[in-house]
Symmetry: C2
Subunit: 209 residues, 2 copies
């Protein structure tokens, strides 16, 4: 049937693969096409398989990780939706996967309804995520309320983090270049660093800005 969404699985756990296969096969609007142990195998069959959706494990035994695989797929076939399935919910992994182009991020589950709902949400143009992942993604936008920096210092550091120079910061905040320098000196001493990039790195990792 033409309207069916073609699904390919990249997952090296035999049991989970069978499980997903059965779930997908039981729904008319999705077509189970194939499954592979590794990205390498999947990629060599991609033109034949013509998937609309790839369900991708993030930790694979092959040489190419799920994240690298996602990056590759999205660069060559941007129309394919990649949904990550994983047991890990380490924040850096999640964000890397999303940056690599993943359209959704599910924690592994053998629950039939959950998977089908996620595929439906994808079809509606959504981005299926488990609750915990959604929270992490949203948290990524929030800033830390315990920042040692004053509001003005945050203003300055945000601009520095955008690549602005002392004088550009000064112009944008309507203060003198010397004042922006003073702010930066104070930021450095509060954060115990002594360069722009260290300050940005620390402030970003602790979400001070």
């Amino acid at each position: 049937m033409e309207f069916q969404k073609r699904i390919v699985l990249i997952e090296d756990d035999q049991e989970l693969r069978e499980c997903y296969k059965l779930m997908i096969k039981s729904v008319d609007k999705y077509l189970y096409v194939n499954s592979y142990d590794s990205c390498e195998e999947a990629f060599s069959n991609i033109s034949k398989d013509r998937p609309d959706i790839i369900l991708m494990d993030i930790q694979l035994t092959g040489k190419i990780s799920g994240i690298e695989g996602t990056r590759f797929i999205k660069s060559k076939y941007p129309h394919i939706d990649v949904v990550i399935i994983t047991v890990y919910d380490d924040s850096e992994l999640v964000f890397e996967a999303l940056r690599a182009g993943a359209s959704g991020y599910l924690t592994k589950s053998y629950n039939y309804l959950e998977l089908v709902n996620s595929l439906d949400e994808l079809a509606r143009g959504g981005a299926p995520m488990s609750s915990k992942i959604a929270r992490m993604v949203i948290h990524n936008f929030h800033s830390n309320p315990n920042s040692p920096l004053s509001e003005r210092e945050k203003d300055v550091l945000r601009l520095i983090a955008e690549g602005k120079s002392y004088s550009q910061v000064a112009d944008l905040l309507f203060i003198s270049k010397e004042t922006s320098k003073t702010h930066i000196k104070n930021i450095y001493s509060k954060l115990q660093v002594n360069s722009k990039s260290e300050a940005i790195e620390l402030a970003k990792s602790k979400r001070y800005i």
Copy 2:
């Protein structure tokens, strides 16, 4: 009942307010506390109302916008979950609201199940979002496939955008300082800019990196 989540509404549409009020009142685990036309009013009663959740309209008639209101609430009462309800899904508004500290973002609907599901998801530690919003948030992580920059140039520019200097970029990419300079010169000529901050601004706005 002590386990009930206390909900306050900030919404200036009379009809929608009544509608939400009824929906919340019909579920035992949520307690409708109060509703207000404006952030100003809501804030002056916040100590009395002690909300766990605030449903906040984003376009309000009062002087304080929903986004400013969210920022204020999260700075004073970080434990309160703010969920935005809106008809707008302009991407900048969404991201601003999330950065301001919103825990969820719903497009207005009079659908009972949708609202209750969202509140439940919030209680489970999730971040309720309508499909379209989830897609936008995820898209925010993706990079533009039509970037004129080569992969290596993107690597360089990403590091520059993190505040790294020419020499730091060189060290991190195991190339000489001169090479990183050459890459940057090429980036500038491709993007038609002639400074770090212009390059970062353009590349970010077009999601080249």
